[in-house]
């Protein structure tokens, strides 16, 4: 039972890291639908670095750094060049799918460096992620920079008129978002899986994106959502640890988290939810800021 719970929490860690970065990003008005791509780059670079250097820490750092680079790239396209945010992020994702496969699939196999785990069960990264969520929540709701971030996401022209540097804040948020996406990928590959196989993210980035939308941009709800989806994901992978002799074929079980995602997205699209959701949504989300 405990090993199963620990695994669930590690999956939740992945959703949390990627999700909280995306949440920050979206709060500043930049939508990055390409988290899956950021995670792939983070996973690939983190895995290969750890494999070569033998150091997990360096692997995490390199994974996060490459994520930040691609976050910056998304910023360059969508903030400075004012490309449609969805187009830019999808471009990064598609590029990641192709490039990472080409680059990494020849290294498919285990890492063979055990990650440190508290009590032999749970990675400390989980606690780091939870603290991070609380920190982001504090920053957004209690600090001046948080107020500035939220204002930029609501109405950049008003923010600009108040003397806030919209471009700087948006860059800050996309880069941090990218960094955390990369870290999430590196953690997934190095610690959770401990191996490389073709496209190891398997849609986790998309689930993280859905969780951010579902959270109505509130970190505490994101935390709850990540925990629930951690359980669903892990159950889909190893149902027999929870219910011995679980009869459904593995392929069907693997669909659980995605079915749950569809249900969640359907629920938040109902008229009742949509209104609440519409009010919570950063008003300038997805719109490039074009100065007059």
């Amino acid at each position: 039972m405990w090993p199963f719970i620990a695994r669930c929490l590690e999956v939740a860690t992945i959703f949390l890291l990627a999700g909280i970065g995306e949440l920050l990003d979206q709060r500043s008005g930049v939508l990055n639908v390409g988290i899956e791509g950021l995670m792939l780059f983070g996973a690939a670079s983190g895995f290969i670095t750890a494999l070569r250097t033998g150091s997990l820490l360096v692997g995490f750092i390199v994974g996060a750094a490459l994520g930040a680079v691609f976050g910056f790239l998304h910023g360059l396209f969508s903030i400075t060049l004012k490309v449609d945010q969805v187009v830019s992020a999808m471009g990064i994702w598609i590029f990641a799918m192709g490039f990472v496969t080409f680059w990494m699939d020849k290294y498919s196999g285990p890492l063979r460096i055990p990650s440190p785990r508290i009590g032999g069960l749970l990675s400390p990264m989980f606690f780091f992620a939870v603290v991070l969520v609380l920190v982001v929540w504090f920053i957004l709701s209690k600090t001046h920079i948080g107020l500035k971030i939220r204002s930029v996401g609501e109405d950049p022209s008003v923010a600009e008129a108040t003397g806030i540097n919209v471009v700087k804040i948006r860059y800050l948020c996309v880069i941090i978002g990218g960094l955390l996406g990369g870290l999430a990928g590196a953690f997934m590959c190095i610690t959770y899986l401990g191996l490389w196989s073709h496209i190891p993210t398997q849609g986790m980035g998309w689930i993280a994106l859905a969780l951010v939308l579902f959270s109505m941009w509130r970190p505490p709800i994101l935390l709850a959502g990540a925990l629930i989806f951690g359980v669903i994901w892990q159950f889909g992978i190893a149902p027999e640890t929870l219910i011995p002799g679980f009869g459904l074929p593995l392929g069907v079980c693997r669909m659980f988290p995605f079915i749950a995602t569809i249900i969640v997205l359907a629920v938040i699209s109902t008229p009742r939810f949509r209104r609440k959701w519409g009010l919570a949504k950063p008003a300038a989300l997805g719109q490039p800021y074009i100065k007059e």
Partner: protein, 536 residues
Amino acid sequence: MSVLSQKIIDLFGGRKEERSQLSEKFWANLKHGEVVLEARGITKKFPGGVVANDHIDLEIRAGEIHAILGENGAGKTTLMNILYGLLKPDEGEIYIRGKKVEFKSPLDAINLGIGMVHQHRKLIPAHTALENIILGHPKAGKIVDIEAAKKEVQELCDKYGFKIDLDAKVWQLSAGEQQSVEIVKALYRGAKLLILDEPTSVLTPIETERFLKSLRSMAGTEIAVIPFITHKLPEVLSVSDRVTILRKGKVVKRLETRKATMEALAKYMVGREVLFRVKKPKVKKGKEILRVENLSAISDRGFLALKGVTFSIREGEIFGIAGVSGNGQQELAEVLAGVRKASGGKVMFEGKDITHASPLERLKMGIGYIPSERVRVGSIPQFSLMENIALSLYFDREFSKWGLLDYKRIREHAEKVISEFEVMAPGIYTRAAHLSGGNLQRLILARTIPRTKKLLIANLPTQGLDVGATEFVRNKLLDCKKEGMGILLISEDLDEVLQVSDTIAPIYEGKFVDIIPAEKARKEIVGAMMTGARAK
């Protein structure tokens, strides 16, 4: 050492904290009546040959309320944008407390203690009033101490008599409260000179009164206030100390308010006598053209804004809805124009049910719609005047053949209506974005009224128009009536409704309080009904 560091700070334009201290030092020892702002020979030409400001001199003293008047397109907004650093003048100088200044952006003006409240609100609706006020000011600190900030802001509010629920989200506040938020925001940032663009055009009568009181109490301290008011002359007379009047970019008159009368002001503005009344022609009412039964609608915010209204309009009748903004009249106009779904009830036009007809179908039936939001809904700013006018013609056989637009016809029509409605612009190829507020309204009228055959829905048609233009529009409505159209007039201006309507319906919280024929309507009673009081 400190001299050097100051030099470095100056070199980089100063960090925010230093700059705000700078402005405090700059404004120290301010005396009532001292000249705080002097503009000399301000000139601004726009491409297309419009001279919006032509050697304007202006002098503002501490603690005065200095009204600036002028008809639509006189150049008021341009002048204000120059004073606030949004536009650069072609010629002329600005002095603040005797020191020559050049603004590169509004931020420079803000840092020198100039605050501005735009005609279109610049607040973040999803944030609280307090958050909006403290946003971006270094005083708020890195970690915001909400309680301390609230105390400070509350003191400011009390000092000048502003009533704001600081914890409420801005979208929940009324137009008047939102404006208070903007003013308090400017004061919180240390503004000593406050520029207000048409500050009362969206306020209710009660809010206006409270607002004018606050203006006076600000002027009681050293703060100078410059309201730009287009057409509400009684307010100018009651509140201001001095008046400067612009016409076609030039200053035509400066005078002290106590020596002015309403008629004189209007004459200086428009250059001719203005009658403050229009004559209501007698027209025989024809058959019923519009019948609305128990109509209700839901607002953007998701609550029931229109709660079942029933009325009918006949040919040659002006049906006036009097009410304070936000009582469902906006939703009613939108449902009738077909741009909002009705949540219940029925709309019958000439006996046909049109509850679910599209806006285009309604246009083709001869229903015209003048929306109240002229920038967002009423026009496409990037289009030329002609293209904006073509938006109501493209579907008409007369102007298009086989799906191709007949530009010659359209141009002729555009030129005709633009001169008929006196839209002041270099030509029909000017972009709508370059029109002044009042001229944009004229453009919308020029597009809609000549194409409307049977029913005109006019939502706040004279909002932001100068006295001359207001008179013009009211006469146009009466002309439409003479031609036998039915007209639904929605207005916040009770005098306007009483002057032109045949039937008057005060609206409150989504319902008609009563429906009264004009002969029996008394101003005090209708005014009371607008705030919810029932007739006995």
